[in-house]
Symmetry: C2
Subunit: 140 residues, 2 copies
DNA sequence: ATAGCTGCAAAAGTTTTGCATTCCA
DNA sequence: TGGAATGCAAAACTTTTGCAGCTAT
């Protein structure tokens, strides 16, 4: 029997962090989220499970988890930062400017080109983040 | 005799905005900037030229110019938004995580793939913004 | 003349932090 | 036990806004 693929506790320990109730809750809430919640929303969802988790802890937890590479922070414009668990494969985000909906898109081909381009400049990619603002095309 | 390629005043009028001293100063300062300054830095550089330009006006001008499509707002993480004059060709930004240096990179090939990918989803790109965090490779 | 801009200062909104207390290792 | 993490509340920061006066058109 192998362990579950996402063992929060172990991931925290591996990162040299303590396994606290608060971190487990915040992380599980984020993993269950289909959308990309911001700190405020995470706090609200967390409070339902455990009303004692403070706002400061949500922020501190997010900072710690991001530092550890377990989650990712997404900086959009005109709105507070959102978060997502670090995806297995890198992907870009398409924002529908009319509805605000966020769609995840991915292209191995683009990834490859980007990696080559960056390497030619003498760098290696640590992570990347693409935000595409788009509008639904009127069907022709 | 043709007009200079970058006629601020005309661009403002075309956008239905008034040509004010403050806007001219902010816009010229941004155009002269080799880097990607944030509002605070723009305010500082602007103050050297005209000490009467207020912080509020810098923000309001940036918002107006962005709305008009003359400049672009870049949302980085852990720091205030930066600005650049709208580039002729779209380009991505590579941030050296060790030095904070921002390098502009571009690839027509990636642009093309991205556009196709998005179109296949039924969208058309309004603008996009890519942030690549990278580290200089040790020379082998 | 007048709608649009600006300056000033105050407010709003997001994120961080000091400190005493609690808790994991 | 001892350092790390938390809760609370206050502070720090970035960005926005109300309002009276100014200015480009």
């Amino acid at each position: 029997m192998t362990a579950v693929s996402t063992d929060f506790a172990q991931a925290l320990r591996d990162a040299g962090l303590r396994v606290t109730q608060q971190r487990m809750i915040v992380m599980s809430v984020l993993m269950e989220s289909e959308d990309h919640p911001n700190a405020d929303e995470l706090f609200a969802r967390t409070k339902v499970i455990d009303g004692s988790v403070s706002f400061a802890t949500v922020y501190r937890t997010l900072a710690a988890l991001e530092e550890a590479g377990l989650i990712r922070k997404l900086s959009f414009e005109h709105e507070p930062a959102r978060f997502e668990v670090t995806p297995a494969a890198e992907h870009d985000h398409l924002v529908d400017v009319d509805t605000g909906e966020v769609i995840e898109i991915e292209s191995a081909e683009i990834e490859q080109l980007r990696r080559e381009l960056v390497e030619r400049l003498g760098y290696e990619i640590i992570s990347h983040n693409t935000l595409i603002r788009a509008r639904k095309k009127p069907r022709s």
